[in-house]
């Protein structure tokens, strides 16, 4: 009998990259989309905000929901920071930058989980 160890890692991940404003009007649709992904078995989410032009507190609420639900399912959320410096500063002001994990790109975020 061969002496070996097999570790199989199957991680279902989705990349969500909003290209328009995430605000109180659009946030419910984003929330629903993320909820559907998580309900379908996706556990890990990349929230790629690099092309998101604007986000208000309703949008931030969706990020928190995604983080909490994915961690409850044993997964995690990695964020790609907004390119807009002012939006980044809001994430720091609210200390989101200390709770979310960040990657430089969606590819890099997925690579972190592939290596895990």
């Amino acid at each position: 009998m061969m002496d070996l160890t097999v570790d199989e890692h199957l991680i279902r991940a989705a990349v969500i990259a909003p290209k328009s404003a995430i605000d109180a009007f659009s946030a419910p649709a984003l929330r629903e989309r993320i909820t559907n992904l998580l309900d379908s078995g996706v556990t890990n989410l990349v929230l790629d905000l690099s092309s998101t032009p604007f986000m208000d507190s309703a949008g931030m609420s969706v990020l928190v929901m995604a983080l909490k639900r994915s961690r409850m399912a044993g997964g995690n959320v990695r964020m790609v920071a907004p390119k807009i410096e002012a939006a980044n500063r809001i994430l720091k002001l609210t200390r989101f930058d200390q709770v979310f994990e960040f990657s430089a790109s969606a590819e890099e975020a997925l690579a972190v989980w592939r290596k895990a």
Partner: protein, 142 residues
């Protein structure tokens, strides 16, 4: 002398983006502002949060947006350089002082709106008038 822009919006979340555009248009009247993009983003975000607050709290979700209006007056002043935004509604009273800042030791699903507006502006006040609330947002611009 102030440059003034007025806007009369239905009290609906779908309409608040027009206020953000008006903020950008108004701030463009000031020339030579350093870091203008960030200042604009911050004022847009502050105005957005207050307008959403009006729809959700003063108008209880905005069930009748044609009658429930948000009347905005945006003024830019050159000396001292600043933008002032007044947002008037005809809804239920709201006391921003009663809104505690969110605990920042963890992230939360709500409670950031007034906090962000208060933090990003130099002045934020809400006064009760005979027919509704009048929010006053002021951002000094170096």
């Amino acid at each position: 002398m102030a440059e003034v822009m007025k806007l009369d919006l239905p009290g609906s979340l779908s309409q608040v983006a027009h206020l953000r555009e008006a903020v950008a248009d108004t701030l463009r009247m000031l020339k030579g502002v350093e870091d203008a993009e960030s200042i604009c983003y911050n004022v847009q975000l502050a105005a957005q949060e207050i307008a959403v607050n009006i729809v959700e709290h003063a108008y209880k979700g905005g069930r009748d947006p044609e009658r429930q209006r948000i009347r905005a007056t945006l003024s830019v002043f050159q000396r001292p350089r600043r933008i002032e935004i007044e947002l008037r509604d005809s809804g239920a009273p709201f006391n921003p002082a009663a809104m505690p800042d969110p605990a920042l030791d963890d992230v939360h699903e709500g409670g950031y709106g007034v906090f962000l507006a208060r933090t990003l502006l130099d002045e934020l006040a809400c006064e009760r008038e005979s027919s509704g609330n009048c929010w006053r947002l002021i951002k000094n611009i170096p």
